[in-house]
Subunit: 207 residues, 2 copies
Amino acid sequence: MQRARTQEAKEERRQALLAAALDEFFERGFAAARMDDIAARAQLSKGALYLYFDSKDALFSALVETYALPNVARIESFAQSGISGLRMLLRMAPSLIRETPLPKIMKILIAEAAAFPQMASAYRETAIERVLNALAAMLARAKKAGEVDIGDPALTARLVVSPMVMSAIWRVSFEHDPQARVDLDALFSEYERILMRALGAKDMALP
Amino acid sequence: MQRARTQEAKEERRQALLAAALDEFFERGFAAARMDDIAARAQLSKGALYLYFDSKDALFSALVETYALPNVARIESFAQSGISGLRMLLRMAPSLIRETPLPKIMKILIAEAAAFPQMASAYRETAIERVLNALAAMLARAKKAGEVDIGDPALTARLVVSPMVMSAIWRVSFEHDPQARVDLDALFSEYERILMRALGAKDMALP
DNA sequence: AATAACTTACTAACCAGTCAGTTATTAAGG
DNA sequence: CCTTAATAACTGACTGGTTAGTAAGTTATT
């Protein structure tokens, strides 16, 4: 097999191993996933895998760190731009759920939270709580400006993201079965209508 | 140790083993949970455990079947009694999440859905889909009666239960950390207000 | 004394992590 | 160019520890 001599080639191998680990951990769970299988999925031997990651635990931590943050920052940025940003986020939701690794990461996190509590806490603080806070701040601003009529912004933020969380989990838990398929576009367009009324939002167009 | 001679005593042992399995599977995941530990938690030896369940897989199936249905039937019954039943359900939600094994079962199911797809499908059909259908039927009736103003009842039902799903998952994933604690009573009373407006519900009192 | 619930020690299989050896790649010398 | 030596990426067989499942033996109960 061709070898990774340059720094970039090595980084590529690392990414391939992380992608392989994502799928294996997702499908089998941390305990049942085999280092041999992860390496094979990335076209390497187990020995080579250990050149890139010190242990199964280290691979797992790297995985969560690598995949969590980019998508979180993306979601956070939507919350910067007020209620219309929230509507944009709702329109992104179906593709976020269908096309990013976020649902798989969420599943892995939920599955392993009890076994790796410190990791769950870290992820909550650096990813989830950031999204919730950004959303809560946005809602608080909109409330002050009289654009929405809500109670506690922090609680409302939780309610607002719930359908995204549930849909992501639904997808990875049940959608291997075609019978369980949900029309995410229809769901989130329904949600947009319902949520705007729920927030008592003064109609701010957006097609 | 005292022995289970009668049929009832054996049933008690079985329940104790299932309760032990619930906690072990929840904490460690299916693959990492040890039959020795499950037996020990129920004050039995591993050998005795195998008198009650043929294999680790069989124990797992029995667990999901045993704990899924009773709570599901309870939730389903709320949906029988129209919008006021929905409000009752929202008021039950905090205790359902705090005091029943439902959140743990949900976590286990999500964690093992990829490894046991046929079990995930079965649970979806016999439990989750039943709740969603009952809720959708209730919403459809209310819509016809002009009590609510909504689009597709089936999609709306999904949106309605989302905060319960998210809260249950949040609890089992993050609430070992006191910092992550959420005031479920406040959350769901906020939700009740917001949801009634979201559904365009004609105010039907209920204190 | 008979029964069957239960225990414990065992085995067969599995897998994370290691390490001695192999080979692709590069570079220098002819 | 071609050969050869040096390097380091990579392989795969091995080991030590772990655990599902078993079965022969033990003991509470009637």
